[in-house]
Symmetry: C2
Subunit: 203 residues, 2 copies
């Protein structure tokens, strides 16, 4: 399936500034992107990187500086199409295949992210459009309802975990199966536990 992978090539992962330097955030975002592209391909998808600026990566790339929702909607000319975020460092081929399979059962398949986000989509309805701003999970369900598109929701911890904040790095270290987890370990980051909570610390 054609799979758009939006990627912020300008200021990636700014909310990780409390544990990674500018250069490290850029490098880490690229490693996650590379993982996601490999995962999409293993799941049988055809990835297209939709980047905010030119990026040197081993996949077809389109540069679009417009807001995310506009840029993504512009790729809905030939349906179905999937949209998978570039920071889903826990995604596995099995999880992405579940997304594709859900897309075959409904006009729109949604894998919610934590905090009301939409981490992955399959769109197969010509009137559906995205709205990634705000509580996009709720908005995407509303838009689907408004245009009469049926919805399937993909219940996946792996797809629900986008990597934005320090706490998310613990999930990568604990569950990641790609290069992003190795990258974090090589950078000296590790999961530590005290009093029942896990934290990520740099050694």
């Amino acid at each position: 399936m054609r799979t758009v992978v939006p990627f912020d090539a300008r200021e990636p992962k700014s909310r990780l500034a409390d544990c990674l330097s500018d250069a490290e955030r850029t490098a880490f975002a690229r490693v996650m992107l590379t993982d996601v592209l490999a995962t999409v391909r293993e799941a049988g998808g055809d990835p297209l990187v939709l980047a905010t600026a030119p990026v040197d990566v081993d996949a077809p790339t389109a540069v679009d500086e417009r807001p995310l929702s506009v840029a993504v909607d512009d790729r809905f000319d030939d349906l179905p199409v999937a949209v998978v975020m570039a920071d889903l460092a826990l995604a596995t081929p099995v999880a992405v295949r579940r997304l594709y399979d859900a897309g075959a059962t409904a006009d729109v398949a949604i894998a919610p992210g934590r905090g009301g986000g939409t981490n992955a989509l399959v769109v197969d309805h010509p009137a559906f459009h995205t709205d990634y701003h705000g509580c996009s999970y709720r908005d995407h369900r509303r838009i689907a309802r408004e245009v009469g598109a049926s919805v399937a929701v993909v219940d996946s911890f792996r797809l629900s975990t986008d990597v934005d904040e320090r706490a998310d790095l613990a999930e990568v270290l604990l569950h990641g199966e790609g290069r992003a987890a190795d990258w974090l370990r090589d950078a000296g980051l590790a999961v530590v536990t005290d009093e029942g909570r896990v934290r990520v610390e740099r050694r």
Copy 2:
């Protein structure tokens, strides 16, 4: 399947003190427990509430004041047995059935929680024991390895979401299908969005 539902009847949900009063936390924890018991039954399970103090609830109940891991392990006399936390307010019968099904394919099935936790288990190996303290997901995988038990991991956003903190209430409001979501709405809690993040506020 026999399904143990551990429940803290003494100081439930203390980390929700910034948005719910003592009495409200007690009531909300009970509503979540009731939801989980209904979900387990709908999934074909036989729930047993394992409580730290007597609790009046419509299910068989055992009171055990010992630490969680000891109390749970003591219920592993007749296998298989599932362990499902009482604060999984997003759990649905479909998700719990996926847990049970995974338990049929391996000696131990684990549904990880965010932050290294173990939100649900199916145990069908006589030498396995739990260790809920610290990073229990990692510990449970290690213990399984040490005793030669095969492991299946259940990839579920719903089962990964235990409700401990204010941010978790947004997940209940957005995705909950039981009474816990209604309870929060009746208490005046709602999801608000600004600048792309969702928050929970009280009206």
